[in-house]
């Protein structure tokens, strides 16, 4: 009887041992900041598309542009918005900027608004860059990453640049982590514009 008891004790031990040891092994390798609620991830590029019904509501932020005029996401309601998080200090952001300028020109007439969120930057440096690269849409002066923090609660916004596409109802339709490609953006935009 004592033996049988011991066996159950060993079994009962094995479970928490396995759990805790497993937890420790997992801790060994440092964690990534992972996305949740993703319905589709393209492994080749770094785009995430959320299906209808799985889209989080974009936080309704307000701020001022680099030139000092007020900006609020609410004023874009009913339109598809491409929100690009960038900084003039960030090389990948500088690399993707010409593509964004082209996309803004192409999709503007189709009812897509482009908006920048300039992080960790100064207006002087940022405006010098947008002038030279030919970006005409406004950017929020978000040196403190406040808008990023709000979006970070609902989407995996862990790095700069990140580009978020917001659908007509104000929900996040998809995003591209890292520098965008023309291909990735048109895929998400086609979906967002038609729905």
């Amino acid at each position: 009887m004592f033996r049988a008891k011991r066996r159950t004790v060993v079994t009962l031990t094995a479970v928490p041992v396995a759990l805790l040891a497993g937890a420790l092994v997992v801790t060994l390798t440092q964690g990534n900041l992972k996305a949740s609620g993703v319905t589709y991830v393209n492994g080749d590029t770094n785009e995430i598309v959320y299906a209808q019904g799985h889209r989080a509501l974009a936080p309704d932020f307000t701020g001022t542009s680099l030139t000092g005029t007020p900006i609020s996401l609410a004023s874009y309601h009913g339109k598809v918005v491409v929100l690009n998080f960038w900084g003039s200090w960030c090389n990948p952001c500088r690399g993707e900027a010409p593509t964004l300028a082209v996309l803004a020109e192409q999709y503007g007439p189709k009812g897509v608004s482009f908006l920048g969120d300039d992080v960790g930057d100064t207006p002087a440096n940022a405006l010098a860059f947008t002038r030279s690269v030919g970006i005409t849409y406004p950017s929020v002066n978000d040196a403190s990453y406040s808008v990023v923090q709000q979006f970070g609660r609902v989407a995996p916004l862990n790095d700069t640049p990140t580009t978020v596409v917001i659908d007509r109802t104000g929900h996040i339709a998809g995003l591209v982590i890292g520098a965008i490609s023309y291909q990735a953006m048109t895929t998400i935009l086609r979906d967002a514009v038609t729905t």
Binding site: F85, A124, S144, V154, D159
Partner: protein
């Protein structure tokens, strides 16, 4: 691996002490003296079980703990990759024969080495494997009733006897009610048992303490795992006047636990209003810092009421169970670059990194990719208190008493258009040309007209920066609570003695009965049980006498024959 046992000198004691020794796990022992080896059970399941018992033995745990301490040794003696990669390279250069061998053993990155992981994983398994079954056994032992009374109580370490006028059953009843009143746990003779007796046991709190200690020990382990999985550490450099929101993208460097996601970061935002450092201006410690403080305003969540705090060394800001420490500081000269046409293409307080912590002589770079007609880059040295030593600039003091920057200007056509991420503190000068042969020195407010129609750079002024460490460890408080509970449990189990008293009554020849009382204490280190037993035996005799029907019966002293007293 040895249990603390009561001495087993005689047969009767073996009965009475039985469950003290075997069923109950001591604080120091584990699953008994299992030195028999694997042959005890069948060969198939014998070896794994034997290995498991060896692993979970306290001896193994102690050896592993010692190895862990031994393994950490090289980590503090040799330079480590994680903390100081430069020092590792230096070590390789100065010890070309030895360094590769040390590297093969993982001694330059001890805490990530497989052998180090093996030690602490085994230690973890050993501790858990030792503590969990013990917890079950202790829980069982805290609930067990006292054992049956041994037949010969007079052979116990402490014993006494007295005659009673009562019949055996009643005499035992009187003793039982007295012992029950003293909060002993009782066990009376049942139908199947022979004779008239009562067993009483006290000091179960010892088992409760023991149980608490083990559970709290498990709690400490879980807390540590919790901290590792859900905690994070991050750094942020902030210039005076700048604000940052606590979100992964805003932080310079993050070390998150495995299960941390972006939404786990406390939603605070913090503005560095001002930073001040004061230094000793005289004496032996001249130039050493006397005080640092960062005056900050923070909001615990977006839209919350702002609050102010002064962060100092060892006085972190605590917001939403996240702590913000002040870990470093330096200067951020403000530069403005304008083109020949008067267009501002750069205006920023640019953090320079101290190259000499004693004098805060600092290095930094200014990158102006929008420079026109050429892209511009500057390598700079910031000198807080400039003095000329043999024609070269030196800093005499860490405070900004005579601030100066010395700049070397570079230019290129379009070398800064790479989209590969690059450090903002480094300038890659490949493909760039020096604009002037010698560095240019600027005082605050001064401008330098750059050759080649490249406009001018102005040293506008100086700001300071503070480097902040943001840490969140959800396991910290649970670990502390569990630590205190473990200590409390340990004290309880050391201070409370478990002791047993048996009372047996036999019918006497001339009516009434003869009552024998036996006592046994486990781990009677402080030796108090002898006195307790003597007074208890006297009280039992007195209670018996007062319960007896015949008045005028003289009170009899119990015939105490305590072993220790003999």
């Amino acid at each position: 691996m040895t249990d603390i046992r009561t001495p087993r000198s005689q047969g009767a004691e073996t009965d009475a002490a039985a469950s003290f020794g075997d069923k109950e796990a001591g604080l120091i022992g584990t699953s008994g003296g299992d030195t028999a080896g694997p042959s005890a059970t069948g060969p198939a399941q014998g070896w794994p079980r034997w290995l498991w018992r060896q692993l979970t033995s306290m001896r193994t745990a102690l050896v592993l703990l010692f190895l862990l301490a031994l393994g950490s040794g090289p980590g503090s003696v040799l330079p480590q990759e994680g903390a100081d990669p430069g020092a590792v390279q230096q070590y390789f250069a100065s010890h070309p024969a030895l360094a590769p061998w040390l590297n093969r053993l993982g001694l330059f990155n001890v805490f990530a080495a497989p052998w180090f992981a093996a030690i602490y994983l085994l230690l973890f398994a050993s501790l858990v494997g030792c503590v969990v079954p013990r917890t079950f056994r202790l829980a069982g032992s805290a609930r067990t009733p006292p054992p049956r009374a041994p037949r010969h109580l007079l052979r116990l370490p402490h014993s006494a006897s007295y005659p009673s006028a009562l019949p055996p059953d009643a005499a035992v009843g009187v003793a039982a009610s007295l012992l029950g009143g003293r909060r002993f746990r009782l066990r009376r003779a049942q139908g199947g048992d022979s004779g008239h007796w009562v067993s009483a046991e006290k000091g179960y709190l010892r088992e409760a303490g023991n149980l608490l200690f083990h559970l709290a020990l498990l709690g400490v382990l879980v807390s540590i795992a919790l901290g590792g999985l859900f905690g994070y550490k991050a750094d942020k450099l902030l210039v005076e006047g700048q604000r940052f929101a606590d979100t992964p993208a805003a932080l310079d460097e993050i070390h998150p636990g495995r299960l941390v996601s972006g939404s786990d970061f406390a939603p605070f935002a913090l503005t560095l209003n001002s930073f001040s450092a004061s230094y000793y201006t005289s004496g032996q410690s001249r130039g050493e810092p006397s005080n640092f403080q960062a005056n900050v305003t923070y909001t615990a969540s977006p839209g919350a009421v702002p609050a102010s705090y002064r962060i100092r060394i060892n006085d972190p800001l605590s917001v939403d169970s996240t702590k913000v420490y002040l870990i470093g500081h330096g200067y951020a000269p403000v530069f403005q670059v304008t083109t020949a046409q008067g267009q501002v293409v750069y205006n920023e307080a640019t953090p320079f990194i101290p190259a000499n912590t004693g004098t805060l002589l600092s290095d930094g770079v200014v990158k102006v990719p929008e420079g026109s007609p050429s892209q511009l880059g500057f390598m700079g040295v910031f000198v807080p208190t400039a003095v000329s030593v043999g024609g070269s600039l030196e800093s005499a003091f860490p405070a900004a008493d005579n601030p100066v920057v010395s700049l070397i200007a570079y230019s290129c056509g379009s070398c800064m258009n790479s989209s590969v991420p690059q450090s903002v503190y480094q300038l890659d000068t490949t493909g760039m040309q020096k604009l002037t042969a010698t560095p240019h020195v600027l005082f605050p407010g001064q401008s330098w007209s750059l050759p080649g129609g490249n406009g001018k750079i102005t040293f506008v002024g100086i700001k300071q920066w503070a480097s902040l460490a943001i840490t969140y460890d959800p396991g910290q408080v649970p670990a502390l609570v569990c630590g205190i509970l473990a200590l409390g449990g340990l004290l309880l189990s050391f201070l409370v003695r478990r002791r047993r008293v048996f009372v047996r009554a036999e019918p006497a020849a001339g009516g009434g009965s003869l009552v024998t009382v036996g006592g046994l204490a486990r781990t009677d280190a402080s030796g108090g049980f002898e006195d307790e037993f003597a007074s208890l035996a006297a009280e039992l005799a007195a209670a018996d006498a007062s319960a007896a029907p015949e008045p005028g019966e003289t009170k009899r002293e119990p015939n105490n024959q305590s072993e220790a007293g003999a």
